[in-house]
């Protein structure tokens, strides 16, 4: 399968700060998604982004498929951004098995 590595594993921010989360993957992928797991365990899909850049409010994501990494940007962080951020990828020609990274645990302090 694909190796999906995320960094940093833990991140503490002061409210209002910006941050960048990174996801490296070991093989060519045809589906890359970012998820947020809130402190109650609920997983919410943030972006589908196998390549290019997308923005949604204070969040944006960029995937450089040729260099096998994706970045998630959080600007003007809020306490509600706290939780764990996962990236997940599927291999080319096997798009039904998502491999998840171990996540970045974000704590935004007021």
């Amino acid at each position: 399968g694909i190796q999906v590595e995320q960094s940093p594993p833990d991140l503490i921010l002061q409210e209002g700060a910006n941050s960048t989360l990174r996801c490296n993957f070991s093989d060519s992928v045809n589906n890359l998604q970012w998820f947020h797991q809130n402190p109650w365990g609920q997983l919410i899909n943030l972006f589908y982004i196998p390549s290019g850049t997308k923005q949604n409010g204070r969040l944006s994501a960029t995937t450089v498929a040729t260099e096998r990494y994706s970045l998630l940007y959080i600007s003007s962080s809020q306490t509600t951004d706290s939780g764990v951020y996962f990236c997940a990828a599927t291999r080319e020609y096997n798009f039904n098995k998502f491999y998840f990274g171990s996540g970045t645990k974000l704590n935004v302090k007021p």
């Binding site: 045809n30 997940a88 798009f95 998502f98 998840f100």
Partner: protein
């Protein structure tokens, strides 16, 4: 329904007992996935269904684990003779269809079943 529904939300069982976990996907979603999340870790793929068929069971940890899906809706994950290492949150997700899962159709997750084996 409005979202993916899983039951029970919590299950405590004694080692050696069998448990059944249930998942109701979003209506019309033909693809259904089971994942396991151990404390503080990422998601581990178990099995997926396309309709009632399970083409890939390679993620099931042992033959004590099985899953079925009927009527392209409800799915049940069964763990026989539970062991303490089975303790985890079991998450179910659905998507419109596998092709769509690959092309801008996100996974929708339920809230999970927290299984504790004592």
């Amino acid at each position: 329904g409005a979202g993916v529904s899983q039951s029970p939300s919590n299950k405590v069982t004694e080692k050696g007992k069998d448990v059944e976990l249930r998942c109701d996907p979003i209506s019309g979603h033909t693809a259904l996935y089971w994942y396991r999340q151990r404390l503080g870790q990422g998601l581990e793929f178990l099995i997926y269904f396309q309709g009632n068929s399970a083409p890939d069971k390679s993620g099931l940890p042992s033959d004590r684990f099985s899953a079925e899906r009927t009527g392209e809706s409800v799915s049940t994950l069964t763990i026989q003779r539970t062991q303490q290492e089975d303790s985890a949150v079991y998450l179910c997700a659905s998507s419109l269809n596998l092709q769509a899962a690959s092309y801008n159709s996100p996974l929708h997750f339920g809230n999970g079943t927290r299984l504790t084996v004592t």
